[in-house]
């Protein structure tokens, strides 16, 4: 597949591995966070870890919107689907995400709720048109990648006067989460970021400047193929070695400095910033999510339907927060693998195969724990 397979070439992987190993400064370690689950997935699925020198440690960030959706929001999705006689449409990824009391959309569906896994928000619009007698709610999740399609759907629903369609908005923002991870900055044991691939196709490279400027952390935006990740690591090692902190764009084949200005304008029009939003593992993060703007309030499922949910609580034993901040690894968690597994996820990082714990459990647990030079 053109523009895919070239970026998985094993010969080039060896080349890059040698280059990284050669550039690593003796006696020091490099801790890079790949923000995106897409990177986490690529690293785990292709075994990139085996091609990196021991001195480079990859920290898996919170860039999986399914993982970071808080328990309470999953409860709302379940409640919407079960307390109102709606057709709830959502991306398949969300189906198994656990809410309170081990409940999930998958289980609600098994109990009889009308929940449709869709591939695209266009499908939700079509379902609404085909079922004029039913209320159709799109439970929208995702970063700045899925957000523009949701914005388009809201505009289309308005244009068509599709009164039985609404959106429950849970869209979140990447830079805000990176800011939350860096917190007060100094103590965070990270030497740089592999920056988002497809989020950056939309928002461009500019929003990452604050991290190089305010936190002195290098950022290399990279594609989701394994060679992209390796090249980004190489560039990060070089920046660290050089004492630089710059935004570099490894994924220049799809990402421009300004991003997709049309998509950005759309998001601005249709959504407003929330003051604060809860992230699983990170807690409340200010200005980290979007809500539907007043002009589209008629299509806001949060306003159209009131749902009752119990106050939700994250699992206390879960170390996700520390793992997402790079302070701990999955194996440091006392319940990793027992009882927390992908079938029975008890924390954010075990929810999707892009989560740090799930990726390690599913793809990496055969490895002995690698000794990291301190």
């Amino acid at each position: 597949m053109k523009y895919i397979e070239e970026f998985r070439d094993p010969a080039l992987a060896k080349t890059l591995a040698r280059a990284i190993a050669a550039e690593v400064a003796p006696g020091r370690s490099y801790r890079f966070m790949e923000f995106c689950g897409g990177h986490t997935h690529a690293i785990a699925r292709y075994g990139v870890e085996d091609l990196l020198p021991p001195a480079v440690e990859m920290i898996h960030g919170p860039g999986c919107p399914v993982c970071v959706l808080p328990v309470g929001r999953v409860d709302v999705a379940v409640a919407l689907a079960t307390q109102h006689d709606v057709i709830l449409c959502t991306y398949a990824d969300l189906m198994r995400v656990p809410g309170s009391k081990f409940d999930s959309l998958m289980k609600a569906k098994a109990r009889g709720a009308d929940i449709r896994m869709i591939y695209s928000v266009m499908d939700a619009l079509r379902i609404a048109e085909e079922n004029p007698g039913r209320q159709v709610v799109f439970f929208a999740i995702g970063f700045e990648t899925t957000t523009p399609p949701t914005a388009l759907a809201l505009k289309q629903a308005t244009a068509k006067g599709l009164r039985n369609f609404s959106v429950h908005c849970n869209h979140v923002l990447t830079p805000a989460a990176m800011r939350a991870i860096l917190g007060d900055g100094e103590k965070v044991p990270l030497d740089g970021f592999v920056g988002p691939a497809h989020v950056s196709t939309v928002i461009g490279t500019q929003p990452y400047e604050e991290f190089t400027r305010d936190y002195a952390k290098p950022v290399v935006i990279a594609g989701f193929e394994p060679l992209d990740v390796m090249q980004a690591v190489l560039q990060l090692v070089r920046q660290v070695n050089d004492g630089r902190a710059e935004v570099e764009n490894e994924y220049s084949r799809a990402v421009t400095p300004e991003g997709n200005t049309r998509a950005i304008a759309l998001m601005d029009e249709v959504f407003d910033l929330r003051d604060s939003f809860e992230w699983r593992g990170l807690g409340e993060v200010p200005h980290s999510a979007l809500k539907i703007a007043d002009a589209y309030a008629d299509f806001d499922a949060e306003k159209r339907f009131s749902v009752k949910t119990e106050p939700a609580r994250e699992n206390k034993a879960c170390e996700c927060g520390a793992i997402l901040r790079g302070e701990k690894t999955p194996e440091d968690c006392g319940i990793f693998g027992d009882p927390c597994t992908p079938e029975n996820p008890l924390g954010a990082c075990m929810v999707s195969s892009e989560g740090a714990c799930a990726a390690h459990w599913t793809y990496g647990r055969f490895r002995e724990k690698k000794a990291v030079p301190a």
Partner: protein, 346 residues
């Protein structure tokens, strides 16, 4: 006037209704006009609830599977072909020569008779190709909204020749893992026709009976230890089952696993891992290392194993892990799948 005084079935526009499952004349007519014609064989034509068969030469294997596929008709096959292949293949994977099948139909009220006829004829054709006789059947009709058009169960009996010992518990460290052809064709062909996913492709299901391939393999290498068809859950599930049952580890070589480019593309598009996508006409074989070349040749010499490949080896591993050297040159686990594989967007 026919013997039961009635009009012939309207096979072009007729639909199943509750009376076709009620044990009266309508059911008798359905069975007689539709099933007996297609599944013609002496045992079945006794019209008894049980089929009397000859005394078998050898040990017997038995197997069953129910088929609930949607859509019912898909590129490369249909639920009827699938239902015959599925049980024929499970019998063959037990080292047996498949001989007899039973067929149980659960029909949903409203199901078009024309579709039923197509399915039944496909079963008959596949049974003939596989060398099995459908000797006993059953038809039930369920109310609208309690089925999905048609569900089919097949069960079968096969005969295991002396000297053949096949079992999922027989893999030993050092053994070689072989596969008879590319993975994922069936699952992707099915998904390409699902309403909410539909994409264009020429991908056809690999659905086919494997009894003759197995016969050729066992003739060449009677020491073959494990045979298994990687159906639901795909290669990943099958490898884990064998590792579990034999108490071993398995290491696969991703680069060696045959995979059609269309299947690869479709998996990229949907965020699926082809290792977990279903196959319906492929088999995994495990044999001692010194027989692997002979077994691979025997497979490649057969039309149903032309694209066979050696894809891995059995390791000693108390944890019974399946791992894989990736195409990139790294290593990863190939774990049990958690739940069903859904199209991902993240």
């Amino acid at each position: 006037m026919s013997r039961t005084g009635r009009r012939a079935l309207d096979l072009s526009r007729g639909q199943i209704d509750m009376s076709h499952g009620a044990g009266g004349r309508a059911m008798a007519q359905l069975i007689e006009e539709l099933f007996f014609g297609a599944f013609d064989n002496p045992a079945l034509n006794r019209e008894h609830d049980a089929a009397l068969l000859a005394r078998p030469e050898g040990r017997i294997v038995m197997s069953t599977d129910s088929f609930v596929v949607s859509p019912l008709f898909f590129p490369g096959g249909d639920i009827g072909k699938l239902a015959v292949c599925g049980t024929v293949n499970d019998l063959a994977m037990g080292g047996g020569v498949p001989k007899y099948l039973t067929a149980g139909f659960i029909l949903e009220e409203g199901f078009p008779l024309a579709d039923l006829q197509r399915i039944v004829e496909s079963m008959a054709k596949t049974a003939q190709e596989a060398g099995v006789a459908i000797v006993s059947g059953d038809t039930k009709v369920v109310e609208k909204g309690h089925g999905d058009g048609i569900y089919i169960n097949t069960a079968g009996v096969g005969l295991v020749p002396e000297g053949i010992e096949i079992g999922g518990e027989r893999a030993r460290p050092g053994d070689v893992v072989l596969i008879s052809g590319p993975v994922g064709d069936h699952g992707v062909a099915i998904m390409s026709k699902r309403e909410n996913l539909s994409f264009g492709s020429e991908i056809e299901s690999d659905c086919q009976p494997l009894a003759d391939l197995v016969a050729a393999m066992l003739a060449a290498v009677p020491e073959t230890r494990v045979l298994r068809d990687p159906t639901r859950g795909g290669l990943g599930a099958t490898m884990n089952e064998i590792a579990q049952q034999s108490g071993v580890g398995i290491e696969l070589d991703e680069a060696a696993i045959p995979l059609r480019r269309e299947v690869k593309s479709a998996c990229e598009l949907l965020g699926l891992d082809p290792l977990y996508v279903a196959n319906e006409g492929k088999l995994i074989a495990i044999c001692p290392e010194d027989k692997a070349a002979a077994l691979l040749s025997a497979m490649q010499a057969h039309p149903r194993g032309r694209d066979a490949a050696a894809i891995g080896r059995v390791l000693e591993d108390d944890r019974r892990f399946v791992r894989m050297v990736t195409g990139l040159g790294g290593t990863r686990m190939v774990d049990w799948m958690a739940g069903e594989q859904l199209p991902r967007i993240c």
